[in-house]
Symmetry: C2
Subunit: 410 residues, 2 copies
């Protein structure tokens, strides 16, 4: 008999039928004797509808009032889910963030959770109720309604699990777990049974949008075992935990992530003098543009080519900034392309295995794929390649690093 | 410089444009130097949409969860109105019922206000803000969200005015005041400048649905001057107050109300023995059917005809109950008709004027309208007549009691 925190996202509670389905699932867990606390999002589309109403009034509404407005979305869901449970004969009680209370700071629209009062929830659990909590929201010390920012319902789920010392936090979503890579690109992608928080963070930050990064950080910090599951299919999903898998040989690479959202810019022929990097990146940073990978090569003629990547949305703005700097520095030209992809190998096993990088470069070379930029971290190696090679590269690496699913027997 | 509480109903805030219109109106009052606290309803249609969602799950959802659900309707409006004011450069702050806090009992879906904490509102007013409060809702001592029942936003407005000792409570609606009778029936109906709480209660209980009865009772009890105004037209509306008009001769009759929602039933030829009334009305009351007017006539043959009126919706059910009783009592038959109307003269002046009743009967007799039932109270005389005579009766009485509007000069 365990205590589980479940979190259901907007798609999982998007219609009355889906809410009824969630109630059925909860009933199953309850019938098995488990205690349940459930965090839910607004029904899909509802938050956007509410934001639309506000935008009809003004472009930049007061953040305090935005939170009063959008927090109604989850409040609708908690009531409906409680009704659906009661209809099934299961006692349930709903709580808004203010009612719990989930205490946050006063940073409206992006508040951070400071404390959770578990007294009422404990009492309800002791009395056999399922507790339903509005995700994504809380209240500050003065009683103002706050929200955690988009996707914050995952964070609510994890924070509730941490505060209640739950056995596991289940995040129900529209995928049945975390995959070794995107199954839309690699048919043989395999669902992982387990992954560490560190790996999940790297996968998430690279575009594998199964979980909100902040919720994974939060779960790691408080050591809350997180399980990603499909909201309507059966299965064990993927468990995200601190335990590295010691029961079998640790795979060197756990997964392959990629990110199409980057663009590359190069200032060509910059005189190679000290401080040139900060002269180029200073104005870019000042314009609130985040730089990801950076590489600099010195040519034989004492000039250097300075290359870096930014989010694709920032490409045009960055190019404009660089044109001005290039002129100032006496650089030859500014080159750039949107047609790149970053491909990353992720795995905690990498720490103890030399040769991962060289094997990666080897595999890509055999496919005649040119590597434009390389960057590495403790548990990740990333390369930038031409976007057209993405599928080829990921499939080749997936096979080479033994990630392909076993063929199913017919 | 006065303190006004304004209340805007669902139609008055039914669209973004109308919310902007309310903000314009509030700005005008604010610019004149007045302090303002505003109670608002859910945008029209929203409460029904939310109830529809609940009904899709089950026929009788838990009242506690219904209140969590429907209270989101007003919460959306308060945020949007605050945004619309801030856009006009007017500082504003929204409060849910829980945030104020409006303390109620725990009777979900029909809670009664017990206390209102005015500290936060006072502070906001002192700092120059317009305070916006979600109507229709509160919270019980345990922090559960409650609602006051449909139409409860009027009550919120009046309760806020009482707690804040406001100079006037303005109820904005889709009519420009209280009329001597329904202008759709009598073209010459006149808007009253003033009416007493007592008269308003009689008018309201007789189907003049300008204000929710409970809010009028509440205003009378706490002596809060109430003003009914049109939400988009100019004008002074109608002031409802305790002061009887002493500046001029008190009119005998203030208004004429009527109610088409009644039906009449008669148990014919009941043996005239003691206790027969309770034998007939006992089972009707037990079935939760409310009886309005009652009349009993004894015939020459020592039997009696027992007649009463009920709400038209209860007609069939009442008839069924009476058939059984009639058999038991040995009555001759049960007769009944839906085609009746109750017409009532209302006026505090009636107290000091004899002859109102006889004048009323006279007027009706001259039009050959037969009176079926008569009932009187301190400030009201009601008669039941055939429904087809309604317009004729009301117009004749309106003229006879000097209620007709002065002809406007061309």
């Amino acid at each position: 008999m365990a205590l589980y925190v479940h979190k259901y996202g907007g798609t999982s509670v998007g219609t009355i039928e889906k809410i009824e389905g969630v109630a059925d699932k909860l009933k199953k867990f309850k019938d098995e004797g488990h205690d349940l606390v459930v965090a839910v999002s607004a029904m899909s589309g509802e938050t956007n509808r509410l934001i639309g109403l506000a935008k009809d009034i003004c472009e930049h509404p007061s953040p305090r009032e935005m939170d009063v407005l959008v927090s109604t979305g989850e409040q609708v869901t908690i009531a409906l889910l409680a009704m659906a449970l009661e209809k099934r004969g299961i006692p349930a009680r709903s709580y808004t963030g203010s009612q719990v209370k989930i205490l946050t700071d006063s940073a409206f629209m992006k508040a951070r959770i400071q404390d959770i009062d578990t007294d009422n929830m404990r009492k309800d659990l002791d009395e056999g109720r399922i507790v339903i909590v509005a995700g994504f929201q809380g209240a500050d010390a003065d009683g103002n309604i706050t929200t955690l920012g988009r996707g914050g319902s995952d964070t609510t789920g994890v924070a509730l699990a941490a505060a209640l010392k739950a056995d596991e936090c289940h995040i129900y979503t529209d995928v049945d777990g975390v995959y070794t890579t995107d199954p839309r690109v690699v048919e043989k992608a395999r669902r992982m049974d387990k992954i560490t928080f560190e790996e999940m963070l790297e996968m998430a930050s690279l575009g594998s949008k199964v979980l909100q990064i902040r919720s994974v950080e939060f779960a790691g910090k408080y050591n809350v075992p997180l399980r990603v599951l499909h909201s309507s299919k059966e299965g064990n999903g993927t468990l995200i935990t601190t335990e590295e898998d010691s029961s079998m040989e640790q795979p060197v690479i756990s997964g392959i992530a990629f990110n199409r959202d980057e663009a590359k810019l190069t200032v060509v022929g910059v005189p190679d003098i000290p401080g040139v990097a900060s002269k180029i990146l200073g104005p870019v940073g000042a314009a609130n543009i985040e730089v990801d990978m950076i590489v600099q090569n010195v040519s034989a003629d004492q000039t250097t080519d300075f290359t870096f990547t930014v989010h694709r949305n920032d490409f045009a703005k960055t190019q404009e900034i660089l044109e001005a700097i290039a002129k100032e520095l006496g650089a030859r030209e500014v080159a750039g392309t949107r047609d790149i992809t970053k491909v990353s190998l992720v795995g905690v096993g990498m720490r103890s295995h030399a040769g991962v990088a060289s094997k990666m470069f080897d595999v890509l070379a055999k496919e005649n794929i040119n590597i434009q930029i390389i960057s590495t971290s403790e548990i990740k190696i990333s390369v930038v390649i031409e976007e057209k090679y993405l599928e080829l590269a990921v499939r080749a690496l997936h096979t080479a690093f033994d990630l392909d699913a076993e063929p199913t027997e017919d």
